[in-house]
């Protein structure tokens, strides 16, 4: 399965602007392998990260505080109550198709919830979890 996922983007080498979640994951994996030779993204580590209670922020102790526990469903911003669309790309095709946008939200939300910037390895794991083999 993993090999299939990595081959896929080559088959769809298409538009300049739009990226796929898998392409983003591959980019983060490549970055991570500089720090950690032989790095392979793990959906399980991503799932654990998504569910972990970092407890850095009182209102937003975990990703799930706003995104809900099921990434195929939406969530609600815990402060403003604004609906948040699903994180999983198969439920929301806009997710992880724009590197700058993904980076912006990782930057903000990692600082807020995790208390620091996320590592490339964590971002790769996160997308591996959210794409869930689809």
């Amino acid at each position: 399965m993993r090999i299939a996922l990595f081959v896929l983007p080559a088959l769809f080498a298409s538009s300049v602007q739009a990226a796929t979640p898998i392409e983003l994951m591959k980019g983060y994996s490549a970055e991570a392998s500089h720090q950690q030779a032989g790095f392979v993204p793990s959906a399980q580590r991503g799932a654990d990260f998504f569910a972990r209670r970092f407890e850095v922020s009182a209102k937003m102790p975990a990703c799930t505080s706003c995104h809900g526990e099921d990434p195929s469903k939406g969530g609600r911003h815990v402060v403003t109550d604004k609906p948040i669309k699903p994180l999983a790309p198969f439920a929301n095709s806009e997710r992880f198709t724009d590197l700058a946008k993904a980076e912006k939200w990782f930057r903000r939300n990692c600082k807020e919830v995790v208390g620091r910037d996320c590592a490339a390895a964590e971002k790769a794991d996160f997308i591996a979890f959210l794409t869930g083999g689809r």
Binding site: S57, K59, H77, V79, T80, D81, K82, R107, R108
Partner: protein, 164 residues
């Protein structure tokens, strides 16, 4: 706001008369809806004065308990739009603490408009924050704040409150 005359004209516009309709003025940069609207209803710039918006936009990394930081170009485009369309003295708010940005829900105008709202409604789980306009103003997303559109957290229309 180029000339004092125009500034005076804008200040003289009674906010109350426009209160049913609080639309986002034309000329908003694309980032306004995309960035501000990602987490909350895009608030009409007229709800806060220019000083207040500048203070908010200067501290986006400390945005009411959230990190809403932007790259400087985007930040500046939104800042300009907010300041150009900001309200006047009626919607001036002092920050609760020196390091905190002001809240558009603490302006004299906002307080006067909402003084009849019981405390229990503000604290309702469906409301969460006084800035959650759409919790009661059912058409807030369309910029419409008419009294007849208000539905309180208990499901009752605001206009029916006198029947209680």
């Amino acid at each position: 706001m180029k000339t004092p005359y125009l500034a005076l004209t804008l200040l003289a516009l009674p906010l109350a008369a426009q209160a049913d309709k609080l639309v986002i003025p034309a000329g908003a940069p694309p980032a306004f809806e995309a960035e501000c609207g990602a987490c909350h209803l895009v608030f009409p710039p007229a709800l806060l004065d220019a000083k207040g918006w500048r203070q908010i936009m200067a501290r986006l990394d400390h945005h009411y308990g959230d990190n809403a930081s932007l790259d400087d170009q985007t930040r500046q485009s939104i800042d300009n739009f907010l300041v150009q369309n900001a309200g006047g003295a009626k919607v001036s708010a002092a920050p609760a603490a020196p390091a905190e940005p002001p809240r558009l829900t603490t302006t004299p105008w906002f307080k006067r408009k909402h003084h009849e709202v019981p405390a229990k409604d503000w604290q309702d789980d469906k409301v969460r924050s006084p800035a959650n306009c759409a919790a009661c103003h059912t058409r807030a997303a369309a910029g419409s704040y008419r009294e007849r559109e208000i539905v309180m957290p208990n499901g009752r229309r605001w206009e029916e409150k006198e029947d209680d």
